[in-house]
Assembly symmetry: C2
Homo-oligomer: 345 residues x 2
């Protein structure tokens, strides 16, 4: 790919920015008058022709303005966009919202989704906390009703798993507390791998049964999603003109309802990359076919070097990338900060 001249970059940048705002093909004359360029529209037209040959622009029909292509957006995001920061007062406002929320990871995540949706004006996704190498911290068994027992597991990441067990015979709370104590001593600070290796010499007894169930649960706790993906701001998207065709709107909705796919997508993108920064996925990048008409801006969150989850926004190709990137970056940093703080306090 040959390099672009400065002027070509300028034209591309202005065009993309303008198109993101107006959603209409941008003409050469419009660029000149709108941005008071010192060159004539004919010159701009020539530059546009070059940009089109390079695959950055596209003409909907012979005599219309230009629209960015996916490579066009990509070039813009990577080299031209520049990185805005969220205005300070907005940052303060968001911080305030988080500090006055309950001191609870789940609440933070749900709030993140809502904040992202509101400030980016597109749809937001936040995956729940799930850590790969969490260590067992603590466990409680609570009698709820008859043979039902609530098992609460706390991992060192702050993650909490909750599950109801049904036992073969009824045990009272004192017995349960005893069992919990034993397990806590046995398993404290071990990770799943180490728990696997605990080869227990179990007698046949209700205690053994419970132990077995619980160890299974703990071993699987990495797989079991600790909650659902948080989503918000769907209605934002339907205002965008690209979704006036109900067919497209439906496609996007389906992406949004498919928790599994989303969780997978976010996890894959972020766990597999060692880049802790913000990822921009434009039109599925030839890998995800369903996302042909959608862009994603993702970032991971976590404490220190541990990736614990992901936040992101999802919108049409023609979304405000600069605003999106800064919002996603700010929110992911903020959650990471809050989680780190809560882990070290």
């Amino acid at each position: 790919m040959p390099g672009l001249t400065e002027r070509q970059k300028l034209v591309l940048a202005l065009l993309v920015r303008d198109y993101i705002e107006t959603a209409e093909p941008i003409s050469s004359g419009r660029l000149v008058s709108n941005y008071k360029l010192e060159i004539s529209s004919a010159t701009v037209r020539n530059e546009m022709a070059v940009l089109e040959q390079n695959g950055f622009l596209f003409q909907p029909y012979t005599s219309a303005g230009r629209v960015p292509t996916k490579p066009g957006y990509r070039y813009y995001v990577q080299r031209l966009m520049g990185e805005d920061q969220l205005p300070t007062h907005v940052q303060e406002m968001i911080r305030h919202q988080f500090y006055q929320a309950r001191h609870d990871v789940d609440d933070w995540l749900s709030l993140s989704a809502s904040v992202l949706a509101q400030h980016s004006q597109v749809a937001a996704i936040v995956t729940p906390l799930h850590t790969e190498k969490a260590r067992f911290k603590h466990l409680a068994l609570l009698s709820t009703r008859g043979r039902q027992v609530l098992l609460v597991i706390i991992l060192d990441s702050g993650e909490v798993h909750q599950q109801t067990l049904v036992l073969e015979e009824s045990l009272d709370q004192d017995q349960l507390t005893g069992i919990a104590l034993q397990i806590n001593q046995l398993a404290e600070d071990r990770n799943a791998e180490e728990l696997e290796k605990l080869d227990l010499d179990l007698e046949i007894s209700p205690l053994a049964e419970i132990l077995e169930i619980i160890l299974q649960t703990i071993k699987n706790s990495e797989v079991i999603s600790s909650g659902d993906v948080y989503r918000d701001g769907l209605a934002n998207m339907l205002s965008e003109p690209e979704f006036s065709e109900p067919e497209k709107a439906k496609q996007t909705l389906e992406i949004f309802e498919d928790h599994v796919m989303l969780d997978d997508l976010l996890s894959r993108t972020l766990f597999e990359s060692d880049n802790r920064g913000v990822h921009v996925i434009i039109g599925g990048e030839d890998t995800w076919d369903q996302l042909k008409e959608t862009s994603l801006i993702l970032a991971s969150y976590g404490a220190k070097d541990r990736v614990m989850g992901a936040v992101g926004i999802l919108g049409p190709l023609r979304m405000s990338y600069s605003r999106g990137v800064s919002t996603v970056r700010f929110v992911s940093d903020l959650i990471s900060e809050l989680i780190s703080e809560s882990m070290s306090s």
Copy 2:
């Protein structure tokens, strides 16, 4: 309102049913040929004119077929529709799905939303468990990290509340367990009202602080929603022709994203009525303006006579009421059954 003749009822019933299927204005000729009526189209036209005068039908323009009005739908649902049962094999299938799910109320509710969406082909809503007169059952305090403590409260309904507290000073697990024990003895089997009356003579001490926080939490636990409203099947709706105008689609999406409003709507409808059956709300019934173009089919769930939550579906006015009612009835009965079972076991 004068009574309708049998023939008028027949015409109305066929017309509504046909319109629900086709989404197009129904003409007199179509009814005659489609249902092999023994009367001529002219007679049907006369009957239609009567039905229109009674406010049950509406003509989009001078020379088109007829479409049901809201009162038309209402009459159909109340007097003409007849009550289907879900086919036995479908019932079995759904039961199977529930039995192989985890033994957990939250999982059941989330599954309910998905089952409802799938079988009714519209969007589904399920409110979380929340009981008005729950009694405190049991509480646990778990040290998570530093001054952070996880508070788990179990109510006799099986409902579980979870919340993180941050204490002024760090306490170890043994101390926490001691405090939990005291509170459990103090508060066991009391409801919020009774807890309110517990006028404690608290010394100034960390324990007092914790007790206060916890009692506040318990008192408020009725208000705090124990989780979110479960939703599913949004994409189903966008296939319906009424949502081809993006404006309408957006309205509906906004209803769907407004958890608070939904929870309120469902609770109000079902807690305030002593009718445990299925409610059909057509076009907001002049009370909810946002629901002008939407119908809801709702039912409560719970054990014995205690209403614990609501399940429902939400679709266009032109939705399949008979299928909807039978699905909602079946699912709400099934959850009630499962909850009752789990409470008595």
